[in-house]
Amino acid sequence: MGAALGMDVVTDLTLHEIGLAASRVLGRAVEVTDDTHIGRDLAVDSLALMNIMLELEGHFDISIPLDRLASVETGGDLSNLVTDLRNRA
């Protein structure tokens, strides 16, 4: 129970950081939730997505391999990927 709650908090914080990174890159305030479709809902092109990744990599001190990005569609996917890479580090 406690572990599950802790995981939720981590996910929320990660999503919050993804939102901040996207806002910085896009130059407008955006909110990212588990279900946000990054390409469609945020109108992010491939270049902006790459720049959001650079922001997240710097913030979390991780490197996100390009092939891992192929499966990322939603905020939840990205949050899980970041969490996974942080645990690996």
Binding site: M50, I64, D67
Partner: protein, 407 residues
């Protein structure tokens, strides 16, 4: 759903660009009469977007050797070198390049794109790490996708970010290959190669420099940025092209590593493409000799680059960080970028329109490339056209306002 439905957004964007005037991505020359002059729709234009840095496309000796070669050896090799064998000119070209760079081995590819595709997909494999500058050319990204190494990017020209990436990989097994470019093709900026080489020495790994735009342009003898920065010993692989300063088409990789030649039987973009036709190989051998014989071409090129860069900066245009044979003008928005490209063409100046996502920081660019073959008068005519059109479109202040602002 049709096959092309997913690309409809591109089609619409492209149509909108074409409606604004000429098609910047499908320019048709009636004729090209010299490295710097051509005609489009009957109008004479100065060519300022051809990457023809040394102007060797019309070098009489290169043309003569090409003509002799096509007459003696035919129009094509009709197959790859592993299947159809090599002509003596292929071997001569590889030996000339190895000698030019002072390295043991050279492999020649049919295009520069294929050189990156082949080398990057073969040097590193599963379990290895490919570490790219974020602003790398499409051929580097595509080479990374073709192979099986884990690909990560570091911030453009940011050695500290590169260092962090390598630090995170500490204790992770696998080889590391760092990839940077001598001159970046959009903004004309150079890599901080001294710092990058120092990081490579400290953290381990291999370093590959793509000198496509810097070969024949930078360095005491034209070997590129690694020569200019005095770090050739730290660079394990140099990739380059024949389609810029050497005025033809093709690509290469040179190295001092043992066993480099094993790539000839495992590197698919080398093995499964017809080799370069004799005429192209011969003109390239001659162009390389001409490059070595005429250091004055490099000096003229840089003088022209400075004249254009300083002229555009003085007019108030936003340009790259330093004078280089690639001078990019950052445009405030896509509409004016397209309009300005069209108006410059109508004023007799042909250059490249570069739109996001092909450009850094999502900024539209008017990209120029200078040649040693440009005369000062041509550069001055280009500057006049920029001044006139830039003021008309409010990209820069009108001349009178500029004068009063200064005075």
């Amino acid at each position: 759903m049709g096959l092309f439905d997913k690309h409809l957004a591109y089609r619409e964007a492209y149509q909108a660009i074409r409606q604004a005037g000429a098609d910047p991505f499908n320019v048709r020359f009636d004729s090209v009469v010299s490295p710097t002059e051509g005609t489009i729709d009957g109008l004479s234009v100065i060519l300022l977007g051809t990457n023809n840095y040394l102007g060797l496309t019309f070098d009489p000796e290169a043309i003569a050797s090409s003509v002799k070669s096509v007459q003696e050896r035919g129009t094509g090799t009709t197959g790859s070198r592993i299947a159809n064998g090599s002509f003596e000119a292929h071997v001569e070209l590889e030996e000339s390049l190895a000698k030019f760079y002072g390295r043991k081995s050279t492999m020649v590819f049919t295009t520069g794109y294929q050189a990156n595709l082949g080398v990057l997909s073969t040097l590193v494999g599963r379990g290895d790490h490919l570490i790219l500058d974020a602003d790398s050319h499409a051929s580097i990204y595509d080479g990374a996708r073709l192979g099986h190494a884990e690909v990560i990017r570091f911030r453009h020209n940011d050695p500290e970010d590169l260092y962090k990436r390598l630090r995170r990989l500490k204790d992770v097994p696998g080889e590391r290959l760092i990839v940077v470019e001598g001159i970046y093709s959009m903004m004309g900026d150079t890599a901080p190669l001294k710092e990058i080489a120092a990081i490579k020495r400290e953290m381990g790994g291999y370093l590959l420099v793509d000198e496509a735009h810097s070969m024949g342009v930078l360095g005491e003898t034209g070997r590129g940025l690694a020569e200019l920065e005095g770090v050739e010993a730290d660079v394990d692989f140099i990739v380059g092209t024949f389609s810029k300063s050497l005025g033809a088409i093709g690509g290469f990789c040179v190295s001092d590593m043992d066993d480099f030649d094993v790539m000839r039987v495992i590197c698919r973009p080398y093995m499964f493409t017809a080799s370069l036709p004799p005429a192209v190989v011969s003109s390239t051998v001659t162009a390389l000799r001409r490059l070595e014989e005429q250091p004055q071409l490099r000096h003229k090129l840089m003088a022209n680059a400075r004249r254009l860069y300083e002229g555009l900066s003085a007019l108030g245009f936003v340009t790259g960080p330093a004078a280089s044979p690639i001078v990019a003008v950052v445009m405030p928005d896509q509409e004016r970028a397209i309009a300005m490209w069209n108006m410059l063409l109508a004023n007799g100046v042909y250059l490249n329109l570069a739109l996001p996502p092909a450009t850094p920081d999502s900024r539209p660019l008017l990209r120029t490339s200078v040649s040693a073959a440009h005369s000062e008068a041509q550069i001055d005519r280009v500057l006049e056209a920029f001044a006139q059109v830039g003021a008309q479109l409010d990209v820069i202040e009108a001349p009178k306002q500029r004068a009063s602002a200064c005075g």
